[in-house]
């Protein structure tokens, strides 16, 4: 058991089923089989996109990308394979784009919801992410898994939104911690009460939602989405040490939030 790698599969593996969008859609409702892509690493993704999630690297097409590139000119409407659906969507087929939405909507929406902690904003940015996808889908070249590419595009949409709202992602310590003086206390003084009982999902979701925006952002990216500190540092344009420090503060804050109900229980 450890704290350094608390997440599931890293983003580079997100396309492999469980967290790929397909994984959460009941099999009977799936319109596209699982596994839109390969095991490309997040580094591939970072190198392959600009901030908007647009492919900028002229790397050789791989797996899906190759299939997509070769079939963009003549997408067969009867072919329901992932590559064919993507190729048709890239060629402007609205029905194919709807299929992509159906497969990936839960993943995109959940990511927005966790990063923002607000349903209305999450819906707005899910919409914005798919509109950006519609604008840019033709530029997807298969340098990375499609789901990974969409995941990064979504994160960039959210980050741009947060920047527009005035959250300075560069100066994390000052800007992301809205009240440094009232940040999570260190655990001195009287011995701490241990977290008691079990944490249910609703309680945990609420506690994560209650985190200040900056803490939540780092926590979601690292502990839920599986990004490494170097990747977060690159995304947010901060130091790796800063990312580690903010994550620790986020976890301490989360502990405080989760201890409150437990402490109330003890007081009763």
């Amino acid at each position: 058991m450890g704290l350094s790698n608390t997440a599931g599969p890293p983003p580079g593996d997100l396309a492999n089923g469980a967290l790929d969008g397909e994984g959460s859609v009941p099999p009977e409702n799936r319109t596209i089989p699982a596994g839109l892509a390969s095991n490309n690493t997040e580094q591939d993704l970072i190198a392959g996109q600009n901030e908007s999630g647009e492919a900028v690297k002229d790397a050789p097409a791989s797996d899906l990308g190759e299939a997509a590139a070769s079939s963009v000119s003549l997408p067969d409407p009867a072919d329901t394979s992932d590559a064919a659906v993507l190729a048709r969507a890239q060629a402007g087929d609205h029905h194919a784009f709807a299929q992509l939405y159906s497969v990936h909507k839960r993943r995109v929406y959940s990511l927005c919801l966790r990063m923002l902690g607000n349903v209305a904003e999450a819906e707005d940015l899910t919409q914005e992410s798919f509109l950006q996808l519609h604008r840019k889908i033709a530029t997807f070249r298969g340098d990375s898994a499609f789901s990974t590419w969409l995941h990064r595009l979504t994160i960039n949409v959210v980050l741009m939104h947060l920047r527009r709202k005035g959250l300075n992602l560069i100066s994390l310590d000052e800007a992301l911690d809205p009240s440094p003086d009232h940040g999570p206390a260190r655990s001195f003084g009287a011995p701490d009460l241990r977290l008691t009982g079990s944490i249910d999902r609703m309680t945990l979701e609420k506690a994560v939602e209650s985190l200040p925006a900056g803490y939540r952002l780092i926590f979601v990216l690292h502990d839920i989405e599986g990004y490494e500190h170097n990747e977060i540092a690159a995304l947010l344009d901060c130091s790796i040490g800063n990312s580690k420090s903010q994550l620790h503060k986020a976890r301490m804050k989360l502990r405080e939030a989760l201890r409150a109900p437990a402490d109330e229980e003890v007081a009763k």
Partner: protein, 86 residues
């Protein structure tokens, strides 16, 4: 000779402060803090690490579940595309 209680408490707090200040970097580097000598003597820091690991486990188990957006969202997206907003 026994040390005054306050002095002992101050030393414990100083040890805890040093240990806890080192946590972000050491955890971030993947170090197992359970083996740190301070953990053998300090219930407070043991409890802290235990809580953080417990939370990390809960996050691993509970958080990956995905939520469904409202049905209307697709209609909104379609409308925006038709309007040329995409």
């Amino acid at each position: 000779m026994t040390e005054p209680e306050d002095f002992v408490q101050d030393n414990i707090d100083a040890d805890c402060a040093e240990f806890q200040a080192s946590m972000p970097e050491r955890i971030g580097a993947g170090e197992d803090l359970q083996t740190d000598p301070h953990m053998l003597t300090c219930e407070r820091c043991r409890s802290l690490i235990r809580d953080l690991e417990y939370i990390a486990d809960a996050v691993r188990q509970l958080m990956p579940i995905e939520e469904e957006p409202r049905e209307e969202l697709w209609a909104n997206i379609q409308l925006a595309i038709e309007r040329g907003e995409a």
